[in-house]
Structures are given as structure tokens and as C-alpha cells.
Symmetry: C2
Subunit: 167 residues, 2 copies
């Protein structure tokens, strides 16, 4: 028998989860991209930005790729909600499955890389309040990315259950 290419959860629920992912990704990217700090004073003054750290660069990249993918998926889901039809068939379901899985791994690793660096830098950093505030904002961006990851993991569970049963 050929299983119907329908999804398991209501498309409206799927849409809400996508939009939530998108919102948290957007805020995370804005926070990490705009955060700066000044270390030292006078001639030894050094500007610190996210791109001084590879972990934060990866975090930003994961967030930006996530925004692109989630925007696309949101558009498809809006199409599905409004017309009642899903684009494509089983092939599309498979693409959703792998795409959602890959994205959720990317967001998880992005958040983890950010946390991994920030937590230990924070313990090592002295009383320089500007550096502390920079690290706190980086921490906040990682936390937001982590919340976006949770939503993308939910999407990934949904798309797993929508897989056609292969026998």
C-alpha cells in the first residue's frame, strides 16, 4: 500500500513551531552580531567583537543558515495551511526529515560551542565589567540559539513521524 503523503501533526501546529524557531534565531543573531566590548583604556584600548572568537562566528553562521532554512519551511507550511496541500510527496517528506535533522544538529552544536567558550571565559575573566557584559550577552545569544534548537528538534520529531513507512 502507498502511504498518504500527509503529515502527522496539524499544519497549524507545525507552522507555530517554525515561527517560534525563526523568532528565537532572529533575536539570537541580532544579539551576537551587535555585541561589542572595549577592553583596557587609552592607548592599550582594544575593541572586542564576536568575530574575534571562532566559536561565536560558528554560532552566528548556524543562526543565519537556520533563518534561511526555517524561512523556506515556514513558507511551505503557510502554503500547506492555506491550500490544504503539501508540495511534492514522499520525496519532499524525506527532504523535510533530513533537513530538519541536519538543522537541529547545527543549532545544537552552535549553541554548545557558544556555551563551551563563554562559560569558561566567564570564570577566567577578571572584574572588567565591559568584558563581563560582553560575555553575558554572548551567553544570552547562545541560550536563545538553544531555545531555537529545542523548537527545531520538535520539528524534527514531527518530520520523523511523517516519514513513509518502508516495508
Amino acid at each position: 500500500m502507498a502511504p498518504p503523503p500527509s503529515t502527522v501533526v496539524s499544519p497549524v501546529v507545525a507552522l507555530v513551531i517554525r515561527v517560534l524557531t525563526l523568532v528565537f534565531l532572529l533575536v539570537s543573531v541580532i544579539v551576537i552580531a551587535t555585541t561589542t566590548a572595549t577592553s583596557g583604556a587609552g592607548p592599550t584600548e582594544v575593541k572586542i567583537k564576536f568575530d574575534d572568537f571562532y566559536a561565536y562566528r560558528y554560532m552566528l553562521a548556524a543562526g543565519v543558515i537556520g533563518i534561511g532554512y526555517t524561512l523556506l519551511q515556514t513558507a511551505f507550511t503557510i502554503f500547506q495551511v492555506s491550500t490544504g496541500n503539501r508540495l511534492g510527496g514522499d520525496g519532499f517528506t524525506l527532504l523535510d526529515f533530513y533537513g530538519d535533522k541536519a538543522l537541529s544538529y547545527m543549532l545544537a552544536t552552535g549553541a554548545a560551542a557558544g556555551f563551551g567558550l563563554t562559560v569558561d571565559l566567564n570564570r577566567g575573566s577578571g572584574s572588567d565589567s565591559d568584558t563581563k557584559s560582553f560575555l553575558n550577552k554572548a551567553n544570552a545569544a547562545a541560550a536563545l540559539l538553544f531555545i531555537a534548537f529545542i523548537f527545531s528538534a520538535v520539528s524534527s520529531v514531527f518530520s520523523s513521524f511523517s516519514l513513509p513507512k518502508r516495508t
Copy 2:
């Protein structure tokens, strides 16, 4: 119709993937747990160990939990290969699905946290060769954990395809 509780891939393939996950997890845990370095000399000498860094502690924790879970799954798969029966039914399939998914996220974040810290510490570290060697070993442990993650992600794809189709 009630879908059969069979898995999609051959149990032997599933077993090989589990054993590979286990091997890489074991080596990763041994490398990170045994790595030490001595910084400075004489009275200012400081011993550095993995548990001085939260990111490496998390990496070790993820590896150890991964070993426990993968050992259990390996035992179940050996049982399946030798008897031809899978323990439980659809309930077990669901447990596999969520367990494999959770484990692969844990290993991915463990490796990413390790890389996130190590890459930037490595750039900041001076010419102290003992510290450099410590960071290189931590990097190797993260890389091994990442390979274990790849295998666990494959297991997770298998268990997703084995999900009963819900209609």
C-alpha cells in the same frame, strides 16, 4: 493495518554502527580523562586537568552517558541478531527513536562545547608546549566524540525509519 515491529535496516548493520559508536566513545573518554599538563615551573607550577574546564567536564559526561546507553543498545541488538526477535514492539521502537535522538544531540553538543573552547584557547595560548599538547589532546577527544556523534546520528536515522507509521 498494524505495521510489523520490524526494523528497516539489517540488525547486523545496526550492530556494526553501535559497536563503532562505542569504540569511538571509549577512546574519547580515555583521552580526555587522562590528559594533564603542567603550566609554569617551580613554585608557580600549576597542574591542568580536564576538570578545570566546564566544557571538558560536559564532554566527558556526554561520553560516559553515551557509553552506558550504547552498551545497552548493543546488547539488545546482539539479542536481536542471535534470536531474530526484537524485544518489545512498537513501544520499544518509540523508545529507540527518542533515545537515539537524545543521545545524538548530547554527543553533538559535547563535541561542539569541547571544540568551542579548545579552538579559541589554542589561538590564545602562547608557546608553552605543555599547554599546547594538552589542548591538542582535548581537541583529539572532541574529534573522536564528533565521530561517535556521526555514528549515533546514523543510528537515529535508522530508528526514525523504523517508526510505525501513524495514521
